[in-house]
């Protein structure tokens, strides 16, 4: 539909081709979201935060009425590179504005790492239909791998990130057999069991610090440590979290591109077919076990990398960071955002990570709040806040008329 050759050549009101107009609206939207994010992150008292939330809802409804989303969607599908670039610039601008503020930078970097983990779950859950309720455990495998390796080896930290991903993928392999043998909800139960086993294992394991956890070394690139802030003689100050934020962003961009490529290939097609109807898929020659094993492993790999960097950034990890509740939060991010749509993760992770920090009064009730939010979304907008569109194998491809 989006690639139909007819639509793209339609001239629109105002003399501009519709596609260019869509790009304009898309860039404007990116700028507005960036501005809103800065305003929101600046907000101190709960009244302002409340006002900004209402503003966001009203603006969304008005924009939807005016049909702006159609243009934005189009901008993303037809001018993908420009829009992706705009999103990256937006994050860097926001980070630049808050360059001195440790806490805000940490929060943004956390959002980015949650998104990275969310990409892993998107492959597992959104594409393949494998419900992984032990996302936080795989995050934990990555985190503990990086803590231990930084402490006891002299492997370059960048490779440790990779090792975190590999260890997590390897831990996932333990689960593949039971997950393949069980179907649907039963497979989800297997992952719950793993989440509980993993946490108990950490709590009783003294080498890994038991319930107290471990302190983690710092990230460094070519000998350039990440745990020191940058100060210039003229008083210009950049928080050390800024470096973590940029690295998280870089990893996220790579993983995002990878996830998109998975979707836009025969692999994505096969995974969707497995999710939607296993029996029919088998009758068309799909190797169900192969796709499940591949998707599960790839997903855990991404989650593990996120965990490894998360540990370095926090400087301290404990089993409580990787509880079953955190796994549920990760799953709810995927559900809220829209199954299988990586952009949905951005919205959902921002809500899930930033909202409780800004509204201290809901901190206590955040699980209750997210749970009801997920229920409401599933009731009224089952495809999530930003539903996934049709597969667009080659962006910008129009076919021969």
């Amino acid at each position: 539909m989006r690639q139909s050759p007819v639509k793209s050549s339609t001239p629109a009101v105002g003399g501009l081709p519709e596609s260019t107009r869509a790009l304009g609206v898309g860039l404007l939207a990116a700028a507005l979201v960036t501005g809103y994010a800065i305003w929101f992150l600046h907000a101190e008292d709960e009244l302002t935060v409340g006002f900004l939330l209402v503003l966001a809802v009203v603006a969304t409804v008005v924009a939807a009425r005016m049909g702006a989303f159609r243009h934005v969607e189009r901008a993303f599908s037809e001018h993908e590179k420009v829009m992706n670039g705009a999103a990256i610039c937006g994050v860097i601008v926001v980070a630049g504005v808050f360059r001195e503020d440790h806490f805000t930078l940490l929060m943004i970097a956390t959002v980015l790492l949650y998104m990275l983990a969310g990409l892993g779950l998107t492959i597992q859950f959104g594409y393949l239909g494998l419900v992984n309720l032990s996302g936080a455990s795989f995050l934990g495998v990555g985190a503990y791998t990086s803590a231990v390796m930084l402490e006891h080896t002299s492997v370059p930290p960048l490779l440790i990130l990779l090792a975190g991903g590999l260890m997590s993928a390897l831990a996932g392999c333990l689960l593949i057999l039971p997950v393949l043998r069980a179907k649907g909800h039963h497979a989800a139960v297997v992952t719950i069991a793993f989440a509980i086993l993993f946490k108990s294992f950490l709590e009783v394991n003294d080498t890994l610090g038991g319930p107290q956890g471990l302190t983690t070394g710092e990230m460094s690139l070519l000998g350039w440590g990440f745990n020191s802030s940058i100060e210039f003689a003229n008083g210009f100050f950049i928080s050390f979290y800024f470096k973590y934020l940029l690295l998280s962003l870089a990893l996220l961009v790579v993983a995002f591109a990878l996830t998109k490529r998975v979707e836009r290939s025969w692999i994505g097609l096969s995974m969707d077919a497995v999710r939607l109807d296993e029996t029919a898929a088998a009758c068309y020659g799909l190797n169900i076990a192969r796709w499940k094993a591949l998707g599960f492993t790839l997903g855990n790999f991404l989650i593990g990398i996120a965990g490894a960097l998360y540990a370095m950034m926090l400087g301290y990890i404990a089993p409580a960071n990787f509880s079953f509740g955190d796994s549920l939060i990760l799953v709810s991010i995927v559900l809220l955002g829209g199954m299988g749509n990586p952009w949905g993760l951005a919205v959902a992770s921002a809500i899930v990570v930033i909202l409780p920090e800004k509204l201290q009064m809901i901190q206590e009730y955040r699980f209750l709040l997210f749970a009801s939010l997920v229920v409401l979304i599933l009731l009224f907008r089952p495809d999530g806040l930003l539903p996934r569109g049709m597969r667009n194998y080659i962006p910008g491809w129009r076919g021969k008329a």
Binding site: S270, Y284, R391
Partner: protein, 260 residues
């Protein structure tokens, strides 16, 4: 009939579910290029036969030879690779995926599924994609040129007739030697059924080598398109022959109407 080559040969195919014998010692031969009708009252084992043949269920007993290959122990995947494609009674499409996606799922044996190819050689992938896209569109055009303009629309948005067409395209894209159609007219009006049968006959004209087994309750359909019919009742084959022979067979009338 004797000058044609036997494509599928089933011998003593039996399937038991606990004490229930759903298929009882079924012998059936299908020739290359034939259209065979499979008739029988509800619960007589027609769909079970398809499920056993395509590897969804195991054979309890008996064997099947397909194009010289013993497919008795084949899983669903291997049956598909041997050249048998099917449609389902309860049309099993991926409704949220596009028309193109649904058809290409059926072309699995020709898709390059390598990780490196799909993720990192995007230029080569784009060329491969274009080729498959053209193939799929050409096939859809045989059925309906209107559909061929909507390759990127979700299948869920189409009416039943188009979904059936898409489902048949999904089965045909891999160029199977045998096509199994499980009640293609279910849920359609008389007029729509008629159109679909026109489509099936035109497919057959394009590919005279393709053999088809069709399960259908609509007798006019059977009369029009089949060369050969077999009737099942309680899992047993009670009659086989031309449509005329079969409908006038007293056993068949008894099975359907319960009277002599």
């Amino acid at each position: 009939m004797t000058d044609k080559e036997v494509l599928l040969s089933c011998e003593g195919v039996t399937r038991r579910f606990g004490g229930l014998v759903a298929l009882d010692d079924l012998n059936l031969d299908v020739n290359r290029g034939d259209i065979m009708g499979l008739l029988g009252p509800n619960g007589s084992g027609k769909t079970t036969f398809f499920n056993v043949l395509t590897g969804i269920y195991d054979f309890s007993d008996g064997q099947a030879l397909f194009d010289g290959e013993d497919i008795t122990r084949h899983r669903a995947q291997a049956v598909y690779r041997a050249g048998i494609a099917r449609t389902f009674q309860r049309s099993r499409m991926c409704l949220s995926l596009s028309l193109l996606d649904n058809i290409l799922v059926g072309d699995h044996k020709r898709l390059n599924l390598g990780l490196g190819f799909n993720l990192f050689r995007r230029g080569a992938f784009a060329r491969d994609f274009e080729r498959h896209f053209e193939d799929a569109r050409d096939l859809v055009k045989v059925f309906s040129s209107a559909l061929a303009d909507c390759m990127f629309d979700a299948v869920g948005a189409f009416p039943m007739l188009d979904r059936r067409r898409i489902e048949i395209c999904r089965a045909l894209i891999s160029q199977p030697k045998l096509l199994l159609l499980d009640e293609p007219s279910a849920g359609m009006t008389h007029e729509e059924t008629h159109q679909l049968m026109d489509d099936i006959l035109s497919v057959r004209e394009r590919t005279p080598e393709l053999a088809i087994i069709i399960i259908e309750h609509e007798m006019s359909v059977m009369e029009r398109i089949t060369e050969h019919c077999a009737v099942l009742n309680f899992g047993k084959k009670i009659c086989e022959g031309s449509y005329e022979d079969v409908v006038h067979n007293p056993q068949v009338r008894e099975a359907y109407l319960g009277i002599e």
